[in-house]
Symmetry: C3
Subunit: 247 residues, 3 copies
Amino acid sequence: MFKAKLESAKEFKKVIDTISTLLDEVCLVVDEEGVRAIAMDPSHVALVSLNIPRLAFEDYQADSHEIGIDLEAFKKIMNRAKAKDKLILELDEDKNRLNVIFENHGKRKFSLSLLDLSSSAAKMPEIEYNNTITLKGDAFKEALKDADLISDYVILKASPTEFIVEAKGDLNDFTAEFTEEDDALINIEGEESVRSAFNLEYLLDMVKGISKGDIVKLYLGNDMPLKMEYSLAGAELTFFLAPRIEE
Amino acid sequence: MFKAKLESAKEFKKVIDTISTLLDEVCLVVDEEGVRAIAMDPSHVALVSLNIPRLAFEDYQADSHEIGIDLEAFKKIMNRAKAKDKLILELDEDKNRLNVIFENHGKRKFSLSLLDLSSSAAKMPEIEYNNTITLKGDAFKEALKDADLISDYVILKASPTEFIVEAKGDLNDFTAEFTEEDDALINIEGEESVRSAFNLEYLLDMVKGISKGDIVKLYLGNDMPLKMEYSLAGAELTFFLAPRIEE
Amino acid sequence: MFKAKLESAKEFKKVIDTISTLLDEVCLVVDEEGVRAIAMDPSHVALVSLNIPRLAFEDYQADSHEIGIDLEAFKKIMNRAKAKDKLILELDEDKNRLNVIFENHGKRKFSLSLLDLSSSAAKMPEIEYNNTITLKGDAFKEALKDADLISDYVILKASPTEFIVEAKGDLNDFTAEFTEEDDALINIEGEESVRSAFNLEYLLDMVKGISKGDIVKLYLGNDMPLKMEYSLAGAELTFFLAPRIEE
C-alpha cells in the first residue's frame, strides 16, 4: 500500500511545476522512508533528484512500490489545488492508478493512470566541489531572469568573497554581484576563483519553484557541472546541470 | 419611463457576464415590479431566466417597457465598471437607447442602441423534482472546473446523503463527493438516488458569475434537465439545462 | 561624468513605459541642473518633453552630456525593476554605455549600448490657452479607456464649469462629465467654451504612466493642440498632441 497526506497541496504543486519543466515522466520510488525519484531530462543535460522524507508528510504509510507518473497530466491536476486544500496521494493497486485527492470543504478525487516505468538507472554524480554558495533563492532567480533579457546563456563565477551572475549580449551586458555585504548572499565557501557557463533555459526551469524566503545552495567549479539544492514544502530538490562549453 | 439605480455596478457586471456567455441578445421586460427576462440559448439546450425585483434597486421608477439589448455590447460596457461605481440604467425613449451611467467621482455615460426584439415566448418549464441540493457555489464551480480537465461532460448524482460530481476520461477520472459532513454541502433533500449527465461547457457558463460566499441550489432527476438557482447582487438567476444522453 | 541615483526604480519605470509608447529613441540631455529630453513621435503628431530636476534624485553628479537611448531596450531593462530596488544611472564614457543598476539585496547591473543621437531640434510650442483643467489623473484615464470602447477618437470640451470627454460611435455613444461638484475635477479656469478632437490611441499612450493619486493638468482650445502635464516620481512630463480635424 501507499497512502500519504500533505498539509498543503498548493506548496506541493510547486514541486511538480518545477520537475515537470525538466521531465516528461518520472518513476516515484516509495517505501517506508519516504518518496524518492531521480532522472535525467530527455536531452541528458540536466539531472533531477527529488527526496521527500516521511517526516514531511502529515500521515504516511507505505510498502515498497514504483509508481510511474505522466508529469504533464499530474501537473494539470496539481494546478487545480486551492489555497487551503490538503493533498492525499493514494495508490490503487487493483486499478493501477494514483488517486490524487484534494481535501477541504469537500473531497475532490482525481485518479491518474500509471505508466509502466522502471526506476531510473540514473545516479547522483559524486563530484568534489571547492566552492559552495548559499544565497537567497529569489535573488538568484531574479538575476537569472535579468540575464535572460541579454543572452541565452549565463556565466556563474565565485571567488572567496563574491558570487557573480554574468550575461553578454551583442549590444548590452548584465552583471549581478553578490558580496558578503549584501543580505542576499548568506555564505560562500571555497579558496579558489571558479567560473562555468550554463544554458539559461535549463537554469530557469530549475529555479521555477523558488519563491520569497527559499534558500538555495550552489556548488560550482571550473567548467564543471553545477549542483543546485533547495527545499520546497519539505521536499528536497537537487539538480545537476552540465556546463556549456564556451566558444 | 424607466430609470433604475444599483448600489454596485461591479456586482451587476457579474450578472451580465454570466447571461452573455449563454445569450447573444435579450429582451428585458421592465414594469413597476422590477426587471425580468427569459430566453433560450441559440442552440436551445439551456434556458436562462433573470429576475431583479424592484427592491434590489437603490432607486427604481418604471412604466411597462420591453428593452432589446445586444449583450455583447452591454458586456463590454459593464466591463468598464470600477470598484465603487454606482450604476444607473435609464431608457431614452426618444432616441431608442439605454443610458448606462457609472457614477463615482464623476459621471460616465454610455448610450446603447436598442434592438427591436419582442419578449421571448420561452416559459419556465414546470418540472417536479425529487432531489434538491443546496451547496456553496464556489465549491460546485471548482468541482466543475476540475471535471473540465478530464472530460467535456459531467455526471451529477444525488442520494439522500451525498452529492457527487463525476467525470470519466480516456485515461484519468475525477470524482467530487459532498456529504453532510462537508461544510460545502448545506442541505440535501430527496428520498431517491438520481443521476443525469450534462454538457460541461454549458454548466461552466452558468456558474460563471458565482464567487466565494454565493449559495447555489440544484434540482436533479434521472436523465432530466438540471435546474439551477442562485442570486447575484439581488438578481435571481435560474437556469435549465437539457441532460446529455449518454452513449 | 554622469551618475544619478533614484529612490524607486519601479516609479521611474512608469516614466520610461510612458515615453517609450510614443518614442523609439531619445537623446537625454544631462547637466548639473538635471536630465531633460524633448522629442516628436515618429509621425510628428505628438511632442514629448521630460524634465527631471536634480532635486528629484537621491544623489546626482553630472557634467554636460548627451546620451542617446534605445527606448525599447531601456524599457525591457526597466521592466526588471523590483519593488524596493533603488536605481543608479551611470555613464561609462570609455565604453559609450549607460549602466543601469538596480540596488537592493545585491547589485544587478545592465550596461546599455548608446545610440549616436544629437539632441532634438524640437522645441516646446508657445501657445496661449484660455482654458486650463486640473483633474484626477486616473478619472481622466478611465474616461479615455471608456471612450476607446466606442470610437478611435475623442472630443474634449471645457466650459467655465464643466469638462467633458465625448466619443461617438456608429451605434453607441459615450460621455463623461466632470463638474465642480465631482471630486475628480480639482479646478477649471477659462471664460470660454472650447472643444477639440483628438486621436485616442495617442492620448492613451500619453496617460499610460498615470496611477491613482496622480494629478493631470490639461490646456485646451478650439481645434488647437492639447497640452498635458503631470509628474511621475519627480519627473515632469509634458505632452502636446495635434488636434484631429473632424469631418
